[in-house]
Symmetry: C3
Subunit: 362 residues, 3 copies
């Protein structure tokens, strides 16, 4: 924050873009400048230790990066308290702050402006019959909005997006380019959907009969609540009879598959390439790491955590940490895999012992 | 079916949309109304137990849902024979039927009309030189049809689809928005391809030489036979020399990868996120569950089943059920993983015993 | 090569397309014709043994295909030295060559012309303010090029691609239809990006606070060096502060996920559905097989190989081959899984022995 009280992002500065003084940074992150320093030094960007220059703010959060810290040319550095007196960063003014990496959350938006959004409907966008567009929306080139769809105020529909008939998009929601929302999909407010995500596609449901897999018509919806973020090329199927629901504040990474009728709670995290079979329930606040798969109709309890690549074939209790295949309490699972690896070196001895003892009889 | 013999889907009904009487439903599913009931009650939608209202048809297929059944407000309920006399569903007229969930197959198309298709070529669609379009096709906005491509009668090409040169799409086939068919790809009749699927992309084939991975040109095709359904964002590579083939009636879920030269038989199921390395053969009727991976050049025999997340590194015999990593007969695999988990708790005892017995000598 | 010295691909030939004589083929692959044969026979296509006809070149690289070789109708066959005298291929002129499959690399481009590229900017393509297009570029229908983007000479941007503001695409690079490059993404020369790939999307980074996951703004770039190929529907996130980098000559298959801040070296191979968590380092020449996952901040050393489906939770030394979950040296891992499977059949005996020995006391 500069003396006139304006935000850094609006300051032209010598380099043309926004800038902050070290004192601004210290105030924003709630950190401490060295005693006597006036904090007048100016930064214009954030950069990692090895790439930072005199105009850059950098950070040291872990002793793992002391080598890079020794040589960094950064002008200002956020430093964790435990590392406050570490030698290095010869030209940097230091700001001591509890969690340097998290502290950047307060600084980044000041130095990097959001992508500019120009309200308006591009002349090449196709708007269906009966569609209602809110105030101040942006609809980019070649987007297709279906009949009777509704788009909330200030929503931003990227190029080449396709919104099926009757889709609802809440206010301040952003679809990046090339997203497909199947008919009947509903998105809340402040949702972000990354490029190539497909929401509301038919679930994988067939009944075998008369020599063929007969498709079960899917008439449920795909409902995404407020403040959800969905990664690139992720797929979320609509429900068969009931709806598929992703709860408010949940964040989903790239290439995730969510099957029909899944119920995902609020503030969950689903990391890349997770696959949820149909009718999986994930309760509030659960965290599912990358490449985990779940069998159908399982429940992962409130606040539970599932380690990467696990296969969940049974319910997971609230608060538990599970891992492995099939998923068990994580510590047990780690012990089991460790035992398996140790076992390989003991097999001959075990076999010899069994033979000998069985020969000698009971 | 209403007294005039028309299908339910054509009836306006009081609510404006299609409707069925309970007697219609009983006839459609081959179920039994309670003795003496005239079945005149009308339903307009299908809904799960907890959401159903007086105009809704619901179903109870398993004792797992008895709680929801107790309170449901549904007007009509399909009930499995074993649960026919279960207390609950106070306002529902019951229809007893063997498999309530499957029975819905006969009812859903009557209550939910298919998405309306308006034949015609959208003025923004680009049609290549020499392309031939069948009778009554639908080509949506911004679709691009390559030179010499052929599109069969009544086919529906969604918005933003791209059909490369020489592609063939059979009659009554539907491409949802944003599908890419690389040049030379061929699709049969009544195929459905969901949004974002990429068919006929180059396989992953390189020869290392002169310090670099040199690409093997791919000149085989990607051939999809009749009645196949392909999920959202799935990728199926073209063949290198030979073709990649997906047999008639096979259903493929979302985010599946099929490598070059794979041969998938008829009436197979491939669930979400399965990955088939190059030249995998899947024989007719096999079922491959989610996140399974196969090594190259393996064969999964006719009617075999592979459990979720398995790693297939050897051929699987016809009719077998395999699971685990590396995949083995499923029962053996379950026993092995169970033994591994049990082992962890026995390791100290085993080690003590080995030491003691080896000290005491033979 | 025909007598006039022109390349085969330019020869009209009797069948209309390019052709080669057997003598041409022998010269191209450095193989040997049978003594006394003039090599005048003409081939027009390459085909597998079971489909080849008199105008086709086929190949026999392994004894696994002797059955098909016995009956093939091919006109010319490349045969490995060890199989040179195998009975079969009654009508084929044989050319003996060390690695018949690799030898095709020299022949295929002569018989199969590259897809024709027509330079020019399609009238429906949208070109942003300040964008610079090189000489002889191709921009296909409905592509959207952002403000201040640069596209190198002879680059080919497929239909429906979206290049964000400030994107750089190097010369001779090809984007297949429907690729998204987020703002700030940079691609080198001779890169190929297949349909539906998303490069430069935001990484999955949040800080939990005040009851919600707060998004960490991502200001790093996604940098793809020269000669990289990226498969269909793959996602590569931009860096958070630092960049995500894919080194020159690396090849990435379909549906791969590369998290933020990953550093992938030169000439690596990443096979289908691999998932790299944030800040993974893959050193030069490493090969990561299908469906492998890595935990964050791990390093896979130079030239290392990771077996399919492995879970990498610790650094892998240069040159090592690792496998399994959690990944260990591959041979150890194979032994461990084998021991686990063997263990299942021994559990009762082990338990009996433990009980008996513990009863009898030390």
């Amino acid at each position: 924050m500069t003396p006139d009280g304006g935000g850094g992002a609006q300051q032209p500065g010598g380099g043309g873009g926004p800038s902050l003084t070290a004192a601004d940074v210290a105030r924003l992150v709630g950190g401490a400048l060295a005693a006597g320093d006036d904090g007048a030094r100016v930064v214009r960007r954030v950069a990692p230790l090895h790439r930072a220059g005199p105009d850059d703010l950098t950070f040291l959060a872990s002793a793992k990066y002391l080598d890079a810290f020794a040589d960094t040319r950064a002008g200002v550095a956020l430093v964790a308290p435990a590392l406050a007196d570490t030698p290095g960063a010869p030209n940097a003014l230091r700001i001591v702050v509890d969690k340097p990496h998290e502290a950047l959350l307060a600084v980044l938006p000041r130095l990097y402006a959001q992508a500019p959004r120009e309200p308006g409907v591009h002349p090449t966008a196709r708007i269906g019959r009966g569609a209602r567009l809110g105030d101040d929306v942006t609809i980019d080139a070649y987007a297709v909005i279906g009949d009777n769809a509704t788009v909330g105020d200030r929503a931003w529909i990227g190029a080449h997006c396709e919104l099926g008939d009757g889709v609802h998009v809440g206010h301040d929601t952003r679809l990046y380019p090339g997203v497909t929302l199947y008919p009947g999909t509903s998105l809340g407010a402040r949702v972000a959907v990354h490029s190539g995500a497909r929401l509301g596609s038919d679930g994988f449901g067939y009944v075998f009969g008369e020599g063929a897999h007969r498709k079960i018509p899917h008439v449920g919806r795909c409902v995404i609540e407020d403040d959800v973020e969905i990664g690139a090329n992720t797929t979320i199927d609509r429900g068969s009879i009931d709806d598929t629901i992703v709860g408010a504040g949940t964040k989903i990474d790239n290439l995730v598959h969510v099957g029909h009728n899944c119920r995902i709670g609020k503030h969950c995290l689903l990391m890349a390439q997770v696959g949820l079979a149909g009718s999986t329930t994930i309760e509030d606040g659960a965290i599912v790491a990358g490449q985990v798969g779940t069998a159908g109709h399982m429940t992962i309890g409130r606040g539970a955590r599932i380690a990467a690549q696990s296969g969940v074939f049974a319910d997971v209790p609230p608060g538990a940490t599970y891992g492995g295949y099939p998923a068990r309490p994580h510590k047990e699972s780690l012990r089991a895999y460790a035992a398996m690896h140790k076992l390989a070196g003991m097999m001959k001895r075990i076999e010899r012992l069994l033979e000998r003892s069985e020969e000698s009889g009971p």
